[in-house]
């Protein structure tokens, strides 16, 4: 497939496969552009578009401000289209509006949060993660988060707190562990883990000996 490209001045730029870090920077820059446009802050919007282009072209923002607006717009649209994931990731569909601000948040945190997830899981360096094709990175992050969540749900189901007593029905009822917004709507384990009393005859009797690692026999 032909790589998307655009021309600024005399130079033609080809948009190659975007790495995770560049993609996240583009996403952040694009949010600013949209916000400024909505607020009719046109000077800031123009500067943000140049900032957006500089991520890919590595050109200085002041230099980008000298090009014909139509070429700049064409470049912006080309990069924008190249940065849309071809896979419909549920992770990217999480709730983004009306979220309470958190005190530990800061600008550009998504990169650190996501690179932390991948580095913790796979032991990769930040440089390697930064250059990882963004769709691969998103898919791996989603799998990691999904695995963690399902593990938590399993552990939650084994605790007493998952079965609060309902005074109305006079029974303990299973209360599912809340899921992150991007997982809401996915099929979940609706039934609690079934428990049964173990007959006394089936419980081990006497002293229980445990095998220790690196020992040939049970002591």
């Amino acid at each position: 497939m032909e790589q998307p490209s655009f021309t600024l001045g005399e130079v033609t730029y080809t948009v190659t496969k975007l790495g995770l870090r560049a993609w996240l920077e583009l996403e952040d820059a694009n949010k600013k552009i949209i916000d400024y446009m909505k607020g009719k802050s046109m000077a800031e919007a123009a500067a943000s578009i140049c900032s957006y282009l500089s991520i890919v072209t590595k050109l200085d923002i002041d230099e980008l401000k000298t090009f014909f607006w139509l070429d700049v717009a064409d470049a912006y649209i080309t990069i924008l289209l190249a940065s849309i994931p071809t896979i419909d990731f549920p992770l990217l569909k999480g709730k983004t509006e009306n979220i309470e601000p958190i005190s530990w948040d800061y600008e550009g945190r998504t990169w650190y949060m996501w690179s932390h997830i991948l580095a913790s899981k796979y032991g990769w360096t930040l440089e390697y993660i930064a250059d990882l094709y963004f769709e691969d990175a998103i898919a791996l992050i989603q799998e990691t988060l999904l695995e963690e969540q399902l593990q938590k749900e399993w552990e939650w189901g084994l605790t007493e707190i998952a079965y609060p007593y309902n005074k109305m029905t006079k029974k303990s009822e299973f209360k599912a562990l809340p899921r992150p917004s991007w997982m809401v709507g996915m099929r979940r384990m609706t039934k609690p883990i079934e428990t049964a009393k173990i007959p006394v005859s089936m419980i081990p009797q006497g002293i229980v000996l445990q095998w220790k690692k690196n020992e040939a026999t049970v002591n």
Binding site: M37, K40, A43, A46, I49, F68, W69
Partner: protein, 97 residues
């Protein structure tokens, strides 16, 4: 007449935005309607400001040194060179306002 940078194009859009028609069959009709709306509007400053952005001349130069018929030609030409219909589409795409 100059090709505008993205900053200048957005500045122009802020000035002419309210004079832009919702529907136009072609670029020529589109530009004609904008010019007609600015001229018939009650803010001559917008006319001068748009011309100033498109030509790079100061407002004083435009009002004192350019004949009205020439200024009208400049406005048509400037809006055409800078493909103002595409500018509207671009701003719409970015959810302007």
């Amino acid at each position: 007449m100059k090709q505008l940078s993205i900053e200048e194009a957005f500045e122009l859009y802020q000035v002419i935005g309210e004079y832009i028609p919702d529907i136009a069959d072609d670029e020529l009709e589109f530009i004609g309607t904008i010019v007609h709306n600015i001229r018939d509007g009650d803010r001559p400053r917008d006319y001068v400001k748009a011309l100033s952005i498109l030509t790079g001349y100061s407002a004083e130069t435009i009002t004192e040194s350019i004949a009205p018929e020439d200024s009208l030609e400049f406005l048509y030409e400037g809006l055409a060179i800078n493909q103002v219909k595409s500018l509207k589409d671009f701003c719409d795409r970015l959810n302007y306002g």
